[in-house]
Symmetry: C2
Subunit: 154 residues, 2 copies
DNA sequence: CCCAACTGTTGAGAAAGTCAATCATTCCTT
DNA sequence: AAGGAATGATTGACTTTCTCAACAGTTGGG
């Protein structure tokens, strides 16, 4: 049994109760990944948030703002300013949803798709750095497990 | 009744590019776990942040504020107000580090330990709800994989 | 014995999150 | 078909959290 006071200082907290707490590990891993992602996206004038919106707007799904809010777990008002910003930079357009005139469909412009293409590279490189110590199998199972947490009741 | 086109709308984003992005899954899973944790801790007058500090202060490690900041990935000034708050509620004490008079060691009071004992139950119950769809093995491997992300270079 | 580096603290400003109110539209009920 | 309830987007106010720079006291190496 190692004395409490011994290996305490530099990594002493590593043996703490929180190290077994999945929520804490989730928070810390997320903080690291987020910082790396934001740093990698900054040269493109994006953050993780705006990058996510842009990716979704460039996809097939034609999401409304409410759907973006739900998917990204943001307040609808946050989506407003996120889309405002992207739209003012001509990366994204608000189109009226033909089937519901209350809703806006958010679609990436050609410029937006162009930016995504290059930004995605930076994002991928950053993620690669963060996951450097995980095998390809590990990454796959991690993605699977996180998916069941992120989207319950499957 | 949903129309045919709505098959895309509600869950349409689930097939999006982000669903394979581990960083995004990390962010969303964390948001869910954090919300559940904060809700569960609120009745005890705690949030995830203050709970973490209290748990670490109640452990063996006798952390300094700088160590808390590093471990929790917070700015040192955030730790100041976090500890200020807990100290004002007599849950935690600042003790001068005998080996370095610049540093404070943060230690839980008996009242703090008492609170942790009950709060931990709520936290554990909340985590149980979040992880309901994961097997015990899955939780173990998830913890292991997250640990290598959260604490690189092991 | 200095000087650079480090700890905790304060304060200011930016960013992010929360919440209620409003308008236009749609859905439901009768 | 008309009414009212519910929904999507937006605004604005407010709180919380983040980020930084500056500063005093302390430490340790050259």
């Amino acid at each position: 049994m190692p004395k409490a006071a011994d290996a305490v200082a530099p990594g002493g907290l590593r043996a703490s109760a929180l190290t077994d707490d999945v929520s804490f590990l989730l928070a810390r891993a997320n903080a690291i990944a987020l910082a790396a992602g934001n740093a990698a996206l900054a040269p493109h004038g994006l953050k993780a948030r705006s990058y996510s919106v842009l990716v979704l707007a460039a996809g097939e799904a034609r999401p409304s703002q409410r759907e973006l809010a739900e998917f990204l777990r943001l307040d609808p008002s946050q989506v407003v300013s996120l889309v405002d910003d992207l739209q003012s930079r001509k990366l994204v357009e608000r189109r009226p949803d033909p089937s519901d005139r209350r809703a806006n469909v958010v679609v990436a412009t050609p410029a937006g798709r162009e930016l995504i293409a290059t930004a995605r590279e930076s994002a991928r490189a950053a993620e690669e750095r963060v996951h450097a110590e995980l095998s390809s199998d590990d990454r796959e199972t991690l993605a699977r497990l996180l998916r069941t947490l992120a989207f319950p009741s499957d």
